[in-house]
Each structure stands twice: as structure tokens, then as C-alpha cells.
């Protein structure tokens, strides 16, 4: 492994996203192990607010990639800008989130830089000069360990919320503003509009208790039963993506990286297998109780308590307990 380590930072509404702190913690550890430097980049049109917090986060270098054309997320422009920064810095390792940005820009970046990418990783460590990553396969029922041996840079996208976030001692990083050359006239894609999901007044992010329905409940006719449990507990109904896709519940109830991220005191996952897109958006809940027939369901890896059984038997018993 040679070269520096670069974290692709993410931010929303002027706040650095948690995935970035998680990547920086891991990046710092690896950089110290390898005796190299750690840099973080952030893309946008107005980044001054972020630079200070990034500079005191344990990195050696902050790279604000600032340009008027980078105000809104634009996949083509972001890819070009990040690729240009990578060409200047020539990092050996690029860390990013397995987020919408990492999924859309990451593979394009890997091809453009001629590097080797491993996506959707949950663990990452150095084994001598090599990087070894652990990632889910087969719907999350199994995991594989892979060793990166292809061309550098090595690009890894990491699932949000799985790496520990360490507080790093107060070193102050250098700030360097890389020049990027962007040309609007050569763009092959144009942003026409931004949309926000219409929630119809429902805000599952505020609920203290969520009773969440997955495909495993069997059908929309089981929703009233879950609603009864939610009502008995004074909570709200939530659901996984397939349940919203199939129209069993409106999308306002959907928990997942595409919809809402939730952190209730109690999250009761009913018939939810635990796809990473769902788990990422609820794993920080205070207490997670999962009910699923399949003992291998990935949801049992994030749940604090698990009931291996039939939702149709367990939920009525829970309703009785809650009312009792």
C-alpha cells in the first residue's frame, strides 16, 4: 500500500454527515499504521462552515472542492471534480460511504481512475501491506472477506453506521483548495427539478416507538394488526421499502436510506429481513426487537432482542400484553 488516504466527505444542510466522521476515524487508524497522511474532501459551492470542523477531526489535510457549479448535487460534475482532485493528490486509498453518492459516483470514479473498488463493506483492516474488507453477500445472509490486490487507488465504500467513530486528538489540519476545471457546456445531463416525498403530515422520525412492517408479514391485511400494536404502545407505524413499494403503507411510513432515518426508543421490526438500506436507517434506535421466522435474517444482527417466530402469533400476544 502506497500513497495517501482520501476520504470523500458528505454533508447536508451545512452539517457534516456521520458517515464522514466514521470514515475519518478508520482512515486515521490506517494512516498511522501505514505511516501515511489522511485527507478529506468536501464538494459544494459554500464550504467555509464545514472546513473548520473537518480540520479539527484528526485529518492531516482538508480539501474543500468549491465551485459555483457544485452547488447542487450533480452526479456528472461531482464525478469529474472528485476525479480531478484524485489525480492531483494521487491517493492509494479512497474511502467513501455506501450512500447514494458512493453508489452513483463511486464506480464511475473507480473506472475513471483505473483503480480497484470494493463496495458495501462493513469492516476494513490492514493485513501487512494489503487491505482486507468484509462485506455482505446473498441478501446479507452470508459475508465474505476479500483482499484487494488490483491496481491502486483502492476505492472502498463502507456502510453507514457500522464503523466506530473515535474522537481524535486535536491536531489541526492544513487546508488546501484544489483547483477544478468544470465546463457546463460539455455536460450531458441537466438537473431539472428537486422533489421531496409528500408525507401527508406523518413524521415517523419523531415517534418514540415504531412498529415496523416488512414483507414477511404476508399481506396488507396484516397492517391493521400492527396498527393496533402501535396504538396500544402509543407509537407509530413504519415499514420497509417493499411494503411501501407494494402500496401496503404510504411512503411516508418508510424507513430506509431513500426515505427516513429513525432513532426511536423502541423499534419493533415485524417480518423485516434487514436489508442494509433499511438497517442503516434504524440501527441507532434505542432498543430493537425483531420478530422473524428466519433465524438467519440479517435483522437479528442489529436487533438487541430477537423472537424467531411467526408475526401472526407473536404480535397478537404483544397486543394483549400491551393492553394488559
Amino acid at each position: 500500500m502506497k500513497g495517501e488516504i482520501l476520504v470523500i466527505g458528505e454533508h447536508r444542510d451545512g452539517i457534516v454527515d456521520n458517515i464522514t466522521w466514521e470514515l475519518i476515524s478508520k482512515g486515521r487508524f490506517l494512516a498511522d499504521q501505514w505511516g501515511t497522511h489522511l485527507a478529506v474532501l468536501a464538494v459544494g459551492s459554500e464550504l467555509d462552515q464545514l472546513v473548520d470542523s473537518l480540520a479539527s477531526s484528526g485529518v492531516d489535510l482538508v480539501l474543500p472542492v468549491q465551485h459555483t457549479l457544485l452547488e447542487k448535487y450533480h452526479a456528472e460534475l461531482y464525478t469529474t471534480a472528485i476525479a480531478q482532485v484524485c489525480e492531483q493528490l494521487d491517493p492509494g486509498l479512497v474511502l467513501m460511504g455506501y450512500t447514494y453518492l458512493g453508489m452513483e459516483v463511486g464506480p464511475a470514479l473507480a473506472v475513471r481512475l483505473g483503480g480497484t473498488m470494493v463496495s458495501n463493506c462493513s469492516e476494513l483492516e490492514a493485513e501487512g501491506d494489503h487491505l482486507v474488507a468484509v462485506r455482505s453477500v446473498f441478501g446479507g445472509t452470508l459475508q465474505i472477506k476479500v483482499r484487494l490486490k488490483g491496481e491502486q487507488p483502492h476505492l472502498l465504500s463502507i456502510v453507514k453506521g457500522v464503523l466506530p467513530r473515535d474522537n481524535v486528538e486535536g491536531r489541526i489540519a492544513a487546508v488546501k483548495r484544489p483547483a477544478v476545471d468544470l465546463d457546463q457546456s460539455s455536460l450531458r445531463s441537466r438537473i431539472l427539478d428537486m422533489l421531496t416525498i409528500d408525507t401527508g403530515g406523518i413524521d415517523i422520525t419523531k415517534a418514540k416507538i415504531l412498529v415496523s412492517a416488512g414483507r414477511g408479514i404476508g399481506g396488507p391485511d396484516k397492517i391493521p394488526m400492527l396498527r393496533e400494536l402501535a396504538d396500544a404502545l402509543g407509537g407509530e407505524l413504519a415499514c420497509s421499502r417493499p411494503v411501501a413499494d407494494m402500496g401496503w403503507l404510504p411512503v411516508a411510513h418508510q424507513v430506509g436510506i431513500s426515505a427516513s432515518t429513525v432513532t426511536p426508543c423502541v423499534y419493533i421490526a415485524c417480518g423485516i429481513s434487514g436489508a442494509s438500506q433499511h438497517v442503516t436507517a434504524m440501527r441507532d434506535s434505542g432498543r430493537i426487537i425483531a420478530i422473524n421466522k428466519d433465524p438467519n435474517a440479517p435483522i437479528f444482527r442489529v436487533a438487541h432482542y430477537g423472537i424467531i417466530g411467526d408475526v401472526l402469533e407473536v404480535v397478537p400476544a404483544l397486543i394483549e400484553e400491551a393492553k394488559g
Binding site: P107, N120, K145, I197, I307
Partner: protein
């Protein structure tokens, strides 16, 4: 507008997983072979759009002979032709290279893939194909509409956190389709039987000049993630389980 739809045959259920000595893939026994879920949505959207624009829809996959089943399902859904790259590749970059090479030989305006396969779960192939072909791309697309004179498309894509972006892409382009609210249709048995008699063209990696490309990753091990952390299981009959669970709920309220 001619549309190529990339699909993948994935196992419905996996048993006896192992890593072969070559360390370049995972071996397993598949309980069944199905079309990957988001690819099924991509297929449905692609065929519909091709018909609407008066063009052709071609369904393709990279896989062994057993993967032909999903191509036949595509033909049963009225795709005009089917193509298979005859290779069993594990690494997303290798799959993307093979598919991109096959796509280069076609006459197309738009390539549609699913967002992520349920077996390898890398979400890399679609965007990699776009970049290898030097085309504009969009990920997590939920809607596609034809633009003026079939030279552009207008897509809606997810950005996360309940946000979506509407974007216009010049053609040719590559879009990765997300599962959505319109469920894919079933192929009637009779149509499926007719589809099974249609020819399916296949390419080898040598024919595509992509054989012998170096592997970027080495599979070291495959294991059940149970070993890395597991919920405390509440045992007993449903009534006992509910009573214990309620205790655990009340503890934190």
C-alpha cells in the same frame, strides 16, 4: 429508441457456500434461479419504453447456460431479442467489462440495469458500464420518460432522505433502475413456452476480447455473519415471548 436491459440470474436460496482454491469467486448450491429483483423492474420499464418509442428491447445477461431462464422470461415479456455473455464472473468490474464489450457491438440508445444484485450486492456494474462506455448515467431511477425527438430522456432518481432529483440525460445513456410501485408482470405459461423456443445469441469472453483480465480482488473466506454479533433470542411460546419482549420495551420507556 433501442433499449438494452442488463439482467442477472441470482439464487433464490443458497446452501453449502465455499471459496474455491482460485479465490476468484464463491461457490454454492442454488435452491432456485430467479431474476434479480431490481432487474425485473428494469426489464419491465425498458420493454415498455422501447415499445412506446417504436424501438427494440433487447435483454442481456452475463452468466452460464442456466441463466438463460431469465432471458426467456424477458422474451416472454415481449423483449425483441436476448443475448448472453457466456461467463460466470464474480467480480463486478469483470462483469461490467464483459457486458460493456457486448453492448459495444449493439445498436442502442439506452442501457437499463437494476440498482444492485441480491447475490454479490455491490451496486457497481451499471455505473461502471456507463463509465467504460463513456456515457452519462443515473442511479436509483424510479421513472423514465422520453424526451424530445428521442434524443434525451427525463428521469427521476432517489437521492436519499426522502429527496428525489429530476434530470435530463442525453442519449445514449445508462440508467440503474430501482424497485418501485409498479410490480413486474408475470409471464403466462403459454408465452413462456413459446419464448423457450426462441434463439438466444451468446458470446464468449474471447469473442469479446475480455478474457484474462487480472482480478482486482481475492475472496479469502465466506462465513455466516452470526459469528460477529447476534440478538439475544427470546425463547418460549408466543405468550411468554410477548411478555418478555414487553418487559424489555418498558425498561427503556
Amino acid at each position: 429508441m433501442n433499449i438494452l436491459i442488463c439482467t442477472k440470474a441470482v439464487p433464490g436460496f443458497v446452501s453449502h457456500p465455499s471459496v474455491p482454491e482460485s479465490h476468484d469467486r464463491v461457490d454454492y448450491e442454488a435452491g432456485s434461479i430467479v431474476i434479480n429483483e431490481s432487474d425485473d423492474y428494469a426489464l419491465e420499464a425498458g420493454i415498455k419504453l422501447a415499445k412506446k418509442s417504436g424501438g427494440k428491447a433487447v435483454v442481456l445477461t452475463c452468466g452460464s447456460l442456466s441463466a438463460q431462464k431469465i432471458l426467456q422470461a424477458g422474451l416472454g415479456k415481449d423483449a425483441d431479442a436476448a443475448l448472453r455473455v457466456d461467463a460466470n464472473l464474480f467480480e463486478p468490474a469483470a462483469t461490467a467489462r464483459a457486458l460493456a464489450a457486448a453492448i459495444r457491438k449493439q445498436d442502442y440508445d439506452l442501457v437499463i440495469t437494476g440498482v444492485e444484485s441480491s447475490d454479490v450486492m455491490a451496486a457497481q456494474v451499471g455505473i461502471s458500464i456507463a463509465e467504460m462506455l463513456g456515457l452519462p448515467f443515473a442511479y436509483a431511477v424510479t421513472e423514465i420518460e422520453l424526451g424530445e425527438r428521442n434524443r434525451t430522456i427525463q428521469i427521476t432518481k432517489e437521492l436519499g432522505f426522502g429527496k428525489k432529483q429530476v434530470e435530463e440525460l442525453d442519449l445514449p445513456a445508462v440508467v440503474c433502475f430501482q424497485t418501485g410501485t409498479e410490480p413486474p408482470s408475470f409471464v403466462p405459461v403459454r408465452k413462456m413456452m413459446l419464448a423457450q423456443r426462441k434463439p438466444i445469441k451468446s458470446f464468449t469472453l474471447s469473442e469479446l476480447d475480455t478474457r484474462g483480465q487480472p482480478h482486482g480482488i481475492e475472496v479469502v473466506d465466506i462465513f455466516s455473519p452470526k459469528e460477529t454479533g447476534m440478538a439475544e433470542i427470546i425463547e418460549g411460546d408466543p405468550k411468554t415471548q410477548a411478555s418478555v419482549a414487553m418487559q424489555k420495551i418498558r425498561e427503556v420507556l
